[in-house]
Symmetry: C2
């Protein structure tokens, strides 16, 4: 976000085309709307996810980076080699309240890993922080949103998205939008 040069990327691990299409799309939309600078779909190529990405950027703007099909484990190793930090969101991790202040001060770029299917031990091991958004089972969509909301202290929900074609006019009732182009 504007307050810092530090960038935040999201790596979606374990996506299964078809089965995970909608959940992964939600994580992608959350990444964009909550201020992530990039979204990486690990290990698979799924045109449906790319299409969802292109569609949201086309209408609602923003410059979030998108890539897919890269090897997730290699990506993490490279990320560390380039002096980035890795956050793995898992219900087994340390409670967010116990680590968020330290993470906020983290000067390195952050790679936030969120799993679909069972996540191998590799990610628990390479992560600088295994973080739980509470230690109850819920949702990687929710975990990502709350993590970014806490990281950015709510400022992310006021971002402007360059290149947007339409913008919502917040309303007490009904749906109002403004055409920008």
């Amino acid at each position: 976000m504007e307050q810092s040069q530090r960038r935040v990327f999201v790596l979606r691990y374990g996506h299964r085309p078809g089965r995970d299409k909608r959940i992964t799309t939600h994580t992608l939309l959350v990444a964009r709307a909550f201020g992530a600078h990039g979204f990486i779909l690990g290990d698979v190529v799924d045109e449906a996810i790319q299409k969802a990405y292109l569609k949201v950027i086309e209408t609602w703007g923003g410059s979030m980076f998108f890539e897919m099909g890269i090897n997730s484990e290699k990506y993490c190793l490279e990320w560390k080699k380039n002096n980035g930090a890795i956050i793995h969101l898992t219900m087994y991790g340390l409670h967010i309240d116990d680590v968020i202040e330290e993470i906020k001060k983290e000067p390195r770029d952050l790679l936030v890993v969120i799993g679909a299917k069972k996540v191998p031990g590799f990610f628990y091991e390479i992560a600088d922080y295994n973080v739980a958004i509470g230690n109850q089972p819920h949702s990687e969509v929710a975990a990502l949103a709350v993590f970014l909301d806490r990281l950015y202290e709510g400022r992310e929900l006021h971002m402007k998205f360059p290149g947007a074609k339409i913008e919502v006019i917040p309303s007490l009732r009904g749906k109002r939008v403004k055409r920008l182009t």
Copy 2:
């Protein structure tokens, strides 16, 4: 939550069995993990969602109420008649930052409506608050989580769930759980 007698129920509108199974399950898990007292699946009976509910309560505990198949519009009308307030989460609504303090002071029980498919005007009209978790498109799973997190100011992520069979031991690495029964 423990601080107040006010209860918060979540009404999932427009669920389509099959297509929405996983997203609706995530909203149910978020409702439970983020302190809602009840989850209502409107207008349809879907055994898959009931099964997800029973499974999470069985293992992880909690006393969240669950119901399905009731008519969503009638439920809202009854809720209002019984002096409850209705919050409809929608990207077209007022920004959460502009209404959350007022909602925190709301003494009435809250019914939080989240839509799957397109939500009819009825819900925009009957809602006391149409609330946007930012005015960008993202996810009802994320919207519900952030709404409850802001409402309860993070206290919800420290709740204990009565009847749990296992509990996570937050860990820097790996997965540790404690059997409680």
